[in-house]
Symmetry: D2
Subunit: 454 residues, 4 copies
Amino acid sequence: MPETLSTIVSPEGSLEVLSQSEVNRLRDTSTSGLHDLLRRCALAILNCDTPTDDGLAVMEAYKDFDIEVLQQDRGIRLKLSNAPACAFVDGRMIRGVREQLSAVLRDIVYVYNEIQNTPKFDLETNEGATNAVFHILRNASTLRTAQEPSMVVCWGGHSITREEYDYTKGVGYHMGLRGLDICTGCGPGAMKGPMKGANLAHAKQRRHGSRYLGISEPGIIAAESPNPIVNELVIMPDIEKRLEAFVRIGHGIVVFPGGVGTAEEILYLLGILMHPDNRDIPFPVIFTGPESARDYFQRIDEFLCYTLGEQVRRHYRIVVDDPITVSRLMRDGIQEVAEFRREQNDAFYFNWRLNIERGFQQPFEPTHEAMAALALHHDQPNHQLAANLRRAFSGIVAGNVKEPGVRAIAARGPFRLHAEPELMARLDSLLTSFVAQGRMKLPGSEYVPCYTLG
Amino acid sequence: MPETLSTIVSPEGSLEVLSQSEVNRLRDTSTSGLHDLLRRCALAILNCDTPTDDGLAVMEAYKDFDIEVLQQDRGIRLKLSNAPACAFVDGRMIRGVREQLSAVLRDIVYVYNEIQNTPKFDLETNEGATNAVFHILRNASTLRTAQEPSMVVCWGGHSITREEYDYTKGVGYHMGLRGLDICTGCGPGAMKGPMKGANLAHAKQRRHGSRYLGISEPGIIAAESPNPIVNELVIMPDIEKRLEAFVRIGHGIVVFPGGVGTAEEILYLLGILMHPDNRDIPFPVIFTGPESARDYFQRIDEFLCYTLGEQVRRHYRIVVDDPITVSRLMRDGIQEVAEFRREQNDAFYFNWRLNIERGFQQPFEPTHEAMAALALHHDQPNHQLAANLRRAFSGIVAGNVKEPGVRAIAARGPFRLHAEPELMARLDSLLTSFVAQGRMKLPGSEYVPCYTLG
Amino acid sequence: MPETLSTIVSPEGSLEVLSQSEVNRLRDTSTSGLHDLLRRCALAILNCDTPTDDGLAVMEAYKDFDIEVLQQDRGIRLKLSNAPACAFVDGRMIRGVREQLSAVLRDIVYVYNEIQNTPKFDLETNEGATNAVFHILRNASTLRTAQEPSMVVCWGGHSITREEYDYTKGVGYHMGLRGLDICTGCGPGAMKGPMKGANLAHAKQRRHGSRYLGISEPGIIAAESPNPIVNELVIMPDIEKRLEAFVRIGHGIVVFPGGVGTAEEILYLLGILMHPDNRDIPFPVIFTGPESARDYFQRIDEFLCYTLGEQVRRHYRIVVDDPITVSRLMRDGIQEVAEFRREQNDAFYFNWRLNIERGFQQPFEPTHEAMAALALHHDQPNHQLAANLRRAFSGIVAGNVKEPGVRAIAARGPFRLHAEPELMARLDSLLTSFVAQGRMKLPGSEYVPCYTLG
Amino acid sequence: MPETLSTIVSPEGSLEVLSQSEVNRLRDTSTSGLHDLLRRCALAILNCDTPTDDGLAVMEAYKDFDIEVLQQDRGIRLKLSNAPACAFVDGRMIRGVREQLSAVLRDIVYVYNEIQNTPKFDLETNEGATNAVFHILRNASTLRTAQEPSMVVCWGGHSITREEYDYTKGVGYHMGLRGLDICTGCGPGAMKGPMKGANLAHAKQRRHGSRYLGISEPGIIAAESPNPIVNELVIMPDIEKRLEAFVRIGHGIVVFPGGVGTAEEILYLLGILMHPDNRDIPFPVIFTGPESARDYFQRIDEFLCYTLGEQVRRHYRIVVDDPITVSRLMRDGIQEVAEFRREQNDAFYFNWRLNIERGFQQPFEPTHEAMAALALHHDQPNHQLAANLRRAFSGIVAGNVKEPGVRAIAARGPFRLHAEPELMARLDSLLTSFVAQGRMKLPGSEYVPCYTLG
């Protein structure tokens, strides 16, 4: 049984100055339906030294853990029971952990009270959803006016080889040397490597105030515990808003090898960039990995060309085994973004101009029925096919690691996906290659697919 | 005709990062019913070099002035037409003026959208009203967690003699030497002197980050233009919330000689401090002025004892002609406040513990009818009499300088107040002495009373 | 008898980390021949609230005052006996005063140990003297690499009319609004007004880190106590190095009305600027005052043209009663300086390029003999005549307010100056006008000339 | 052949504001006898990505490298020819490298001009030598007044096993979590691990302004290139002053496994701490390593007890395989140091009180003669034997990696050491164990001893 500790801590940042009514609401919120959500996210944060993508196992290991919001005259305190001891030094919580814990509470409460349960945002409209993303990011103080574009979003698998991990560090290092910041999904693997590399490079360049931004979601945070370098953490309510946050706050995107989650992100991104409204908006996208990943990207490239057409290649570039070239291309691409925004009088901190269609915004609930109903064929515009493929991959991620998905699979067996034959074959081949390369789970356990094709 | 200038400026601070919906709301708000309010407050800020308490005259002088909120992709711009030239240097707005202008816009829009027109705050309840005050102050970034208590609220007349003004500077200077910050109603006279003195003392003590907080209200800002030293400005929606802001954010209060406005403040403050719930809350209050003001404070003291009973004296101390003693007493008193808050685990930045009864919170609309109906007699508890006297003085201030009040008097003649005979006599004598001492208007013009007693 | 106080204080800044040998040297230095110098300068700093130009009177008033350097393991402490009470608040020295006191000790000891008594600087050479000026300024941390040119030196009398004083404040205010810093000789009158005005303007513009640099000398500091706004203080060892510091660190110069001291400064400045080597170095110089000073500047202008020739006019501009124009000209002139330095790859913080001939560097000891021997005639190049006239005025200043000069006059009667007839007449007329305008002493006392012409 | 690059860079920090004479001296110094020294040190800095302890090999690899100081009006520039390309990013020098390069130039020139060639410091006296150490550290801005004691000096080998290296990281990590800073000799191995661990911990604790201080010497810097985390670098002129700097600036010392260099440091440290004058000065010393190093420390412990007596054990503590205990002991020990200094009114930033005898200060030139003449027997006080053993180890380090030593050995064969028989045997056994454990050289090359015992 792991070592635990019970204590009371003060939150940080925006939770320090609260009105009486906010304290009440916070306490009520945390004891009502949100309590379980808060508890799970908090545990993911506190369990900071044990990298695992098995959220259920973590929950099991610390099943006595609990968190409670206490009201005190000067504000609130968080009462933790049986919390993982690794979050503390001699009884005091590590400050970075305390900040991340406060961020989790801040975002859960904000989303619940100010986004979901007010008439302010009509989340069913395009504008309402985007405004919600904007407000959550702003409330988390991630939108900064005084900064030149420098935010590179890095996507890729949490379960990658040592060689690939070292490669992501190398790319982060060379981007860091060139004054770029890093944003990822904030877990291990390709989400940690670039931050680690950039952190070293920033130290060498004596760059202060560097940003290591992690954007997570409650459904996956237990499987992708924020790494300790993350110094800004935002919890978006669902994967769709999380993806929108990435593309609106990032000035460029690097994609490392990954599994279905990465494939979901690629489909999402290219489906948006291919939209006619977005054609002329500069947005550097680079797929990269070590020599051993050459084949991986070739397969992705082929799959994309087959499904979305050759013109999809205009929107990304593949660079194999060359971190310096990646970092130079990214810096130059972001320079172009800066010039474009300046010309258009656009904000640097949020890409309002990007048109994201409703199909990419609507939360997709991956039930067996919804998965089975996905239209996976070419009798629809490219961006709609992209949106549906994105949903298919999203559902597989859920079946792999998100709690409700895992439970659904356990109860009713794998999802069944239907597609036109050629597409089916190619999808099958792609997914099989992910499994073969061990990109679906942490090394060690054998992967049992959560889907069948047919 | 005064020199004017038309231009477009960017706002500062919290108005820099806005969502599309906020921009729309801001633009709509500023063109709807709030436009005139915004225009008047903006003019008061821009007219920064011409100290006058005649708001109507200012409006008249710049009757072509206008302000418009423009939407731009990266945020909003403020379009100013025929603005007073004194707010600019070689065509660029002085930064402090720009900050104050942004503060005005921020507060007007916040109050309108987030306080008055949402179901969030039930302003009819005690808790709702206090929460509103808290939220407006927090939204203005005036609630700071990391600071030891140091905020001295200074009250007193805008129309005081040179000798009295120099005295307020002296008190501010000696308080500044002792590390205290200043909060006032942000106009001229006793609202400017202490800031000016403290500013010099802070420079001598190399004290950085000193606070010169001005709390105003739309109804009076035109007559009490923020002085240039004010580096934090908050516009509360009405005099009752403004007074509550003073007593909740201040750690001690110094009262200089003044007129009916000052009398209103004194009645408000003592009515609250005398409430049994507040008996044991330390709160240093000092009445002070130069030798020439000795008689003035004696009259106030007598009036207070007569109306509220001898025990009122427990709550204030009168110091004549001794700035050093005032500053030492204030520093020591605030030290006690700090210890008390620490013991009680209370916040330093907001005095939640103070019980302010509804009678002191409800906005009082000084119509002829309301004034005539005020119960001014001893057949009620002391704190109720204090509340009613506060309303009476408040009405006279409105009749003197607030636009609706001035118009009402012009239309229907002076307010008529009724009181029990002895109280009537004492009130008459007090008000007459204010007039005799020239405390009702700026020197030069003769005062025509806006009230009759009988 | 004035109130005094005895205490022990810690020094600030560069005196905080000393080696054992430095502590010894400091203690020895302060008890040896330098003790009296240190004592006098310290008293001038501590006597911060009593503006007087009568240094001897101050010494007399505080004749029991003493200062001693104590050694302690962690560094040094300063033991003060019978110090003016105005330098303290409740027994603690005002921080600004403590900084100025530390600056005095720092500079006296540095000059004595590192400039005068080492073989490092050959003060008899041009390069050695300039290097000494540079090192004293750098040791005082006044040379800053990261700043754009913005330093305006303001010269003018300590004894000026209220109207003139207000005018200097106005000029400082408008220069401050335009982002300029102020450097003066750090006493009262025209040395304080521009700082005071700029300070207010900097507050309005929310300009942080503004510089109010005072450059003094031991001989005159008692008569020109640093005003409290001065936040950087440097004590140069003699008037010649002080003048060189002004012209090498300043990016432009404003001359207000003054007496012989101001005349000395003008002659020094123009003698240098007229040198052929300096012809093409941009250096904005503006003579300015209120309407009442028009006649004053006309006389100066005539005297300069007569003595140095019409071409002297290319180096200055006279602006009467127009602070805004002065501030615009100065800002534009300094902009030119910045461009020139950038083109030449010159430092912003020190004007190395300016050629200052030995005649302007050599300390002039104004004995009766030296004064009588000055060659005041046109049979020499213009810049030599300028240098000699500078010396003549310098001697008169010494006779007026510097201790050795005052004692010499007391002992041997007025200095006798010889000049060619026409020059004599014009000099007489100029000096007489200074006396008539009360520019030689503080108002109140009648001026007894310390010179005769003939 | 390695990639190189030729360019001109500006120095950083204290070299930015120089007088003409300083520029001249710098240029002259760098072209005179110091040029080779400067060139070698600069190359060590620039060769930042190739960890090797073979200084001669580095020199050989970049034999075309050169550095020249150029004079420019605004200061100096450094002209680099054929510099290692790894110090640059797209042609711009990495800022951390530029800072370290400037530090090297700063210290070489300072030592040469202000320490060695002035009458100011009598380096032959105890006080003079200590003052020199103090002045070099202060000139490098390492003495900070506002900081609580927190500096842990970490000693240990540059050539250690991966397991040992990871252990040093672990200790650094846990000390970093507890708010401690790290100072080392600034090379690889045990000099880098603790910094790396602390750096991660400081990031987790959001600790800003953390210090990673490297203290090197010209003779060894080529073999111990500063690792990139070092953000303060000081080059002391010889090993004796380097060792004195460690013990005067550090508040505690952790010793990891190492070779003769580490043994030299241990002898130096204990020789000083055992001096009667230093008995009561708290100074926490911990020997620590992973389980595999248990035997190593047992041998050291035995050797120390045999040579210096049992009472030596009072001054250190051995902790095996327990980073958390090490970090807690160190934090508590430093807390004691802070209290002691406070009580004694001692400086935090420099341990003046420690008595270091001349025997430990005098530079030891390890010639064959000097080595042969060392008195290694018990017929002398313990601290003298410690001093001589320190010299013996120092000579072996020189023979291993310092250029003159290596050349001397190449020319004349191994150093011959004489000792009394039992001591000889124990020394032999200790040194042999170092060789056996591979602690004398980088793994890979076989060690050929530079000494013989007999």
